[in-house]
């Protein structure tokens, strides 16, 4: 009779199972209602543009706020946004922005030059702790104000000429300055709202909550459920509201990339933040129109700790760098069309491609190692690759470990640490070789080169070269033409390639799964999203089985 009960329960369970159909998918519902369902990788730390640092936060803020200047979604050329036009002085140091009269905050308040001046002052307040304050440093005295040396903001090169005119003065002519204006750290914030909930220099007030938030972007914050979803809806006050075709976007904190892919397959998402490595080939084979891979302005590399005896020998560093088969690595391990990297600056960064490049040459590497005193790997000290805990870093490290074993006959250990410990080890020099990556803040070789200055916070290799410092700090900024400037970068980068404090490994790609109904999505090397151009166009055919 025990069995009878069991049968009864089984029937009940089956009943529940079958009774619950999946209902309408997010995608088809979204297509009907004009709502885009977006995989956004993580719960946003905050939505305050002067406080946050991550890409998930960036994505949401791009929907909620807009800067003086925006970018063409494909070419990344600066295009008018809040400023309808601007002029640059002949020496390239003074920018005057004309703010459009139709610019409004989402509560209807007019958006003025005063708003920008106030917002930028706030962004630089030392007590706010804005990690991207350095974006402002091209502006006269911005650095002094941000570090607290200067208290008086009127000495900073930001001046309100009239309610609709803002003048900015730079220390040096900075070709990438307009690009910076589209970075969220330079976005305006609504003064009255921030003051209502606290002091300008407070980072943890409630002004960013749904219902409180006032922005000026194409969308406005509708709902923010912790760890569940951030919903934004179309902002009717936006100056270019007629261009905006989506009614809203739902951002989901899809932490787990495998879960995210399954959600996409079950049509819960229009767009994913990432694609699991092993799924790339499957989609490329079976649903090529649903996977979008494009070059990304980032380099994956290994840092050497040049303070260590054996790694201070440039021949050893070269031997290690020259015996990595990058082509095999990107084709067989990474599999998403990443480019083998032979320089730190990604090729064709705003027309710049480094002329001196590393080679893959195991034979020469063996000779170099022998010259350094480790013939056939004999006597090579115990060396360790440090990486932060992540599946992909592990794979790369294991592959390189074997390449070095095979080509140079040296045994290298690999060791992972959790993110924070890894950061601590790296910045305190407690490593031998460490995995690293760098994503450009803006499209310019400077973003990849100025980090290698002597004692720079992101250098961490202990490497230093006076000529290199001089080229980056003096020659490039004072260059009159783009050609002269790039020539300085070329020279600097050739020093880097000769001395190799780092091993460039590959250039990143951005990879996403995109539902065919999503239109108006263009790709660019910063993977920056401009939601105002996106729209949904359902296919005529009903939901088909998507089973790669």
């Amino acid at each position: 009779m025990m069995f009878k009960t069991q049968h009864g329960l089984l029937c009940l369970l089956l009943l529940i199972l079958t009774a619950c159909g999946s209902g309408e998918s997010n995608v088809s519902k979204g297509n009907r209602e004009g709502i885009l369902h977006w995989g956004n990788a993580a719960e946003p730390q905050e939505l305050d543009p002067h406080v946050v640092t991550g890409v998930p936060e960036h994505n949401i803020i791009m929907a909620l706020i807009e800067g003086l200047v925006s970018k063409n979604p494909t070419t990344l050329e600066p295009i008018p946004a809040v400023a309808e036009s601007w002029s640059v002085s002949e020496d390239g140091r003074v920018y005057t922005f004309n703010i459009r009269s139709t610019a409004r905050w989402s509560n209807g308040d007019p958006l003025t030059a005063e708003d920008f001046a106030w917002s930028w002052r706030r962004a630089l307040l030392p007590e706010l702790g804005n990690q991207y304050a350095y974006m402002y440093y091209p502006i006269v005295n911005a650095e002094a104000f941000a570090t607290g040396e200067l208290q008086d903001f009127s000495q900073v090169g930001v001046k309100v000429i009239s309610p609709l005119s803002l003048q900015v003065t730079l220390t040096h002519p900075t070709p990438f300055f307009l690009q910076l204006l589209d970075h969220y750290s330079m976005f305006p914030v609504h003064r009255a709202t921030i003051e209502k909930f606290g002091q300008p220099g407070e980072a943890n007030t409630l002004w960013t909550r749904a219902g409180n938030f006032v922005g000026n972007g194409p969308f406005m914050l509708e709902q923010w459920d912790l760890n569940k979803v951030v919903k934004v809806k179309k902002n009717p006050q936006y100056w270019d509201a007629s261009t905006v075709r989506l009614n809203g976007i739902y951002f989901y904190p899809t932490e787990n990339v495998t879960t995210e892919e399954r959600m996409f397959r079950a049509e819960q998402l229009h767009y994913t933040y990432d694609v699991p490595i092993e799924k790339i080939a499957v989609y490329q084979r079976e649903k090529p129109q649903q996977i979008k891979i494009s070059p990304y302005l980032g380099t994956y590399f290994y840092r050497f700790n040049t303070r260590l005896k054996h790694l201070s020998d440039v021949r050893v560093r070269k031997a290690l760098a020259m015996s990595i088969d990058r082509k095999s690595l990107v084709e067989n391990v990474l599999k998403a069309g990443q480019l083998p990297a032979y320089t730190i600056t990604p090729p064709n960064t705003l027309g710049y491609t480094a002329s001196s490049q590393l080679r893959y040459d195991p034979a020469a590497a063996r000779t170099l190692l022998a010259e350094a005193g480790y013939k056939d790997g004999e006597g090579f000290p115990v060396t360790e690759i440090l990486y932060n805990t992540h599946e992909q870093h592990r794979k790369v490290a294991v592959a390189i470990q074997q390449m070095w074993k095979k080509e140079l006959n040296i045994n290298v250990r690999i060791h992972n640490q959790d993110w924070k410990v890894y950061l601590d080890s790296e910045s305190s020099g407690n490593f031998q070789i460490s995995r690293a990556s760098w994503i450009g803040d803006y499209v310019d070789p400077n973003s990849f080169l100025d980090m290698w200055l002597t004692g720079g916070g992101n250098n961490r290799t202990g490497w230093s070269n006076k000529t290199f410092d001089y080229l980056i700090q003096n020659v490039a900024p004072s260059a009159k033409t783009k050609k002269q400037r790039y020539a300085a970068f070329q020279e600097a980068e050739s020093i880097l390639t000769d001395e190799l404090p780092i091993i460039p490994i590959y250039t990143y790609v951005s990879k996403h799964l995109v539902h065919p109904s999503v239109k108006g999505l263009s790709s660019n090397i910063l993977d920056t999203l401009y939601f105002k151009y996106m729209y949904l166009e359902p296919e005529s055919e009903p939901r088909s089985a998507i089973k790669p």
């Binding site: 209902g23 990690q131 399954r262 079950a266 819960q268």
Partner: protein, 312 residues
């Protein structure tokens, strides 16, 4: 009984105090602060952030401040999520995790006890081996494997059930509950089989049978009471463990629960959040252990005399 409960609750105070103190100093000695980041953080920013969260004070002073706030029920602001308080984050996601845990426990108890009892009725036959082998698989099968398997079969291929979310689409709570409950079901099956086997040889069961009572009455009225004792003892700690261990399931199914914070906070060095979740889970563990002891005494009055003295 009352004395027993109040005694245990009194003991909880020093336990909690030690946990709080030990955790506080442990996390402050772990390398990598809450504000370290991939890009070098400028000195003035670190200074501003440290000042905001009083990290520039000596650790013992921070500890006293923390205790003071805690005494007023304030867990402090989160370091990772600057606009949120730990109170808000814990109490905001507690309901979800508790609900998930409850369903998972229901799944575990129903399936586990049924399988265990069925197996114990005919030990060393197919009726025993089959459910026990399934239970063994359930124990071996970690949730990071079972979850994706269930999702693929019922969500992607059969399209019967939603594969993610919590309370958004009808039926989206079924797979997470089963995934989380499965390994506990397996434990319970083994425990209840063992308990039942033990009880079935006892004299009072033989007496009941001898009196001519129908077998199902014997089992339900007499045997289950004693036979489920080990299960009851297991349930308390299990439920607490289930809440703390819900991290994997919450991640697989995109559930906005507390388990995710518990694990992430450690990785983020979100000091206040680690403290908050640790305190919360300690209280849960203490309460549920107590509850399961009380339940055991209530079900088996014989224990009342024994454990009363031993437990106090």
């Amino acid at each position: 009984m009352l004395k027993f409960i109040s005694g245990r609750l009194l003991q909880a105070i020093p336990v909690l105090f030690i946990v709080i103190t030990a955790t506080f100093f442990l996390i402050h000695s772990a390398p990598g602060g809450p504000f370290s980041a991939d890009r070098a953080v400028p000195a003035q920013v670190i200074k501003a952030l440290n000042a905001r969260y009083h990290l520039d004070q000596p650790v013992w002073q921070q500890y006293l401040t923390y205790l003071g706030d805690l005494a007023q029920g304030d867990f402090g602001p989160s370091f990772k999520f600057p606009g949120r308080s730990v109170n808000e984050m814990i109490f905001g996601s507690l309901g979800t995790t508790a609900e998930l845990g409850l369903y998972a426990m229901l799944v575990a108890v129903i399936i586990g006890v049924l399988a265990g009892v069925v197996a114990a009725l005919k030990p060393n036959t197919a009726q025993d081996y089959v459910p026990m082998s399934v239970a063994m698989v359930g124990i071996c099968m970690p949730s990071f494997l079972l979850g994706p398997l269930l999702v693929l079969v019922f969500g992607i291929y059969l399209e019967w059930l939603p594969i993610s979310g919590w309370g958004d689409i009808p039926g989206d709570k079924i797979l997470p509950a089963i995934t989380l409950g499965a390994s506990y079901a397996a434990y319970i099956a083994r425990l209840s089989r063992g308990g039942m086997l033990e009880v079935m040889t006892q004299d009072y069961i033989r007496t009941a049978r001898a009196k001519g009572l129908p077998e199902h009455i014997v089992i339900i009225k007499h045997a289950l009471r004693g036979g489920l004792m080990p299960v009851i003892a297991f349930l308390g700690p299990a439920f607490a463990g289930l809440l703390a261990g819900s991290f994997v399931v919450e991640t697989i199914f995109q559930i906005p629960g507390l388990g995710r914070f518990y694990v992430q906070a450690a990785f983020n060095r979100d000091y206040t959040m680690i403290m908050g979740t640790t305190i919360f889970f300690s209280v849960t563990i203490i309460l549920f252990n107590l509850l399961s002891d009380i339940l055991a005494t209530w079900i088996n009055p014989k224990l009342r005399h024994q454990s009363g003295g031993a437990e106090s």
